[in-house]
């Protein structure tokens, strides 16, 4: 009995000590300074991994490319990243680690709004430039000194959708949303914006993101006099809503948010996806843009490089592209990696053409995108079709 216990103990000790040795050797390798350290925390596993995965691939690809060309300011870039599994608690811990252990120069990351909002306080306290890759408007409003973001906000998505509804003379809308952070934030923005566009929310249903059937909520919506259905969410649930709408034979126009702007959604919803309208970044309809669009060359080049290496692009990876290059440009302009100077330069970003649109930041706008950065898209025969 005691013999086996001792053997087991040895095995444990061996495991722990080898881990320790590796940690220490990794730590000493890191201290070989002279690089510009970009920290990142992404949802690489878990339900939000469809965000983190293309983001990481994009960052790795371009950091490699920049280094091949000689780096920035004569220094190589070094990407330090951790997985958050989309959990706010983990995000908080790894960002502390990025700042206090890895001592990164700036942070580009935060796949979900939840993980981004969790780290804002610590980023502000430690004074590190941070470019978020998450959607919520709460990240930049009110403006936080050290926090920027590249994706369009949920508020912009709601505005774009309502604009389109107005064009089609729809004034009565049924809203259906999930219980995740993205859903709830979008829900609040919809309710807030609707009156400004003269739109009446006649039904306001909610579901749990893990639900596998939303017909109950949709049946309730069918009983109202709504003229369109708006579903704000991402992941699996919007695909189920879309399918259920078709199964119930509801003929109303169906709107989705930019949260479903990935091929995955069309795959999940199948034929039911046809006819769905949504606002999305220009990346998914890059080929359909007019030739004089300043974004077109940037989009096509990103798309070509990414697809040659990893497969179909998603707009989420594009946000990482924007974040990385806004940071790199700012470091070049600042001429050093001094945190305060880099922050000032990020804020001065003007006319940067990215995948999300043309960025014009300022002291009171840490996103710098206008409503025109969103394209209205309809799904036709399982493919995206640019409307305007």
């Amino acid at each position: 009995m005691y013999r086996t216990m001792i053997k087991g103990l040895f095995a444990c000790m061996l495991g722990i000590s080898s881990a320790l040795v590796l940690t220490l050797s990794a730590a000493s390798a890191v201290h070989a300074s002279g690089t510009i350290k970009i920290g990142s925390f992404l949802a690489l596993t878990g339900p939000a991994s469809f965000l983190g995965d293309p983001e990481l691939k994009t960052l790795q690809m371009y950091v490699g490319e920049i280094n091949q060309k000689g780096g920035v300011l004569g220094k190589k870039l070094e990407l330090v990243y951790y997985d958050t599994s989309g959990k706010a608690k983990v995000a908080k811990d790894v960002v502390k680690r990025l700042i206090k252990k890895d001592r990164v120069d700036l942070i580009v990351g935060g796949s979900t709004s939840g993980t981004t909002l969790a780290v804002i306080d610590i980023v502000e306290r430690e004074k590190i430039p941070f470019i978020s890759l998450a959607g919520s408007i709460r990240i930049i409003k009110p403006v936080k000194k050290w926090v920027f973001k590249t994706p369009h906000t949920d508020r912009m998505a709601a505005a774009k959708i309502f604009e389109d509804m107005k064009k089609r003379n729809i004034s009565k809308v049924a809203l259906i949303t999930g219980n995740g952070g993205f859903d709830k934030s979008g829900h609040a923005q919809c309710l807030d914006l609707a009156p400004k566009y003269g739109i009446n929310i006649v039904a306001d249903e909610s579901y749990n993101n893990a639900d596998t059937d939303m017909t109950t909520q949709l049946t309730k919506i069918r009983a109202t006099d709504a003229k369109a259905i708006l579903n704000f969410g991402f992941g699996k649930a919007p695909a189920i809503v879309t399918k259920n709408v078709r199964q119930l034979g509801i003929k109303l126009p169906l709107y989705q948010s930019h949260g479903v702007a990935s091929k995955k959604f069309i795959e999940l919803a199948g034929d039911a996806a046809n006819g769905v309208r949504l606002p999305a970044a220009a990346l998914i309809v890059a080929e359909q843009l007019p030739d004089n669009d300043p974004q077109k060359p940037v989009l096509l080049s990103y798309k070509k490089k990414y697809e040659a290496k990893y497969g179909p692009v998603s707009t989420f990876g594009g946000h990482a592209y924007d974040g990385l290059f806004i940071a790199v440009e700012a470091i070049k302009r600042a001429g050093c990696v001094d945190k305060a100077k880099v922050r000032d330069e990020i804020e001065k970003t003007k006319g940067f053409v990215g995948t999300g649109g043309v960025f014009n930041m300022g002291p009171d706008d840490h996103l710098g995108l206008g409503l025109d950065a969103f394209k209205m898209v309809e799904i036709e025969n399982g493919a995206w079709k640019l409307l305007y």
Binding site: C12, G15, A19, A88, L117, A118, R125, K184, S185
Partner: protein, 318 residues
Amino acid sequence: MRLLGLGIFAAVIAILPLLFPENYYVTVVGVTMFFNVILAVGLNLFMGYAGQISLGHAAFFGLGAYSSAILTTKFGFNPWLAMGAGVALVWIVSYLVAKPILRLKGHYLAMATLGFGIIIHIFLVQYDTLTGGPDGLSSIPELSIFGWPINSDLRWYAVSATVMLLSILFSLNIVASRHGRALQAVHGSEVAAETMGIDTSRVKVHIFVISAVMAAVTGSLFVHEQAFISPDSCSFFFSIELVTMVVLGGMASTFGAVFGAAILTYLPEFLVVFQDFKVLIFGGILMFIMIFLPEGLFVGLCRLFTHFKQEQKECLTS
């Protein structure tokens, strides 16, 4: 003599930051560990000594944390007052819950506490006008002691270490008291304990409330240290993590809980270098410990040590 272990532990904790004031593993991860230790020591009183089980302990941590967060950010309370209010709330809630729930035993008790934890979690996610929903609450003001703001890692280290040492002292004292012996009697056999004149249901309710209040205090401190709270921090998985800490270190041993909390805090930090394999290795190490030291790491090691001493004595005498 009884407090010798605590003294040594306190000395180590006091010296570490003096030697490594800027070390990430000491001043940053250390604070997280201290919070986990308080939670594990509290839960150990209920699980290890009284022999009950709670799979919803993170809920009390969450209630304490959210009370502080909501009262300070939305109603402008003084942080200490908010902490007091949180403790009072948890006191009442845990008392009300304990009465019916602790009549259950074994799997049924596990299910009931699990349910309670999940209900609190759903409440925190859904009641978003108050709790901020899944995004949580941020910009929570910092604590200060008589105008001395606790705003650096080192200061938090000092504060959390003090509270942790007090909680260990408290736990050691409870265990050595009449109440502690009553708990152990309940653990052994409730019927026997009752025949000895112990009001078993009262004893169990008491220790449940004490353990919940310890979690609430930790929650309050945690929320001020992090300046942020979201339902993630008090989910079902955190409850499980706490139970794992207690079991891993060794049930019915205060230092076992300390040990378990320390391992579960530091191991993932060290394993980060393995990237994708870290969860696998983490699980493997936990499995090994539980297979070869089923009584828990600390208790098992202590037993091994005494066993060797005895063997040596036998060698000498024979």
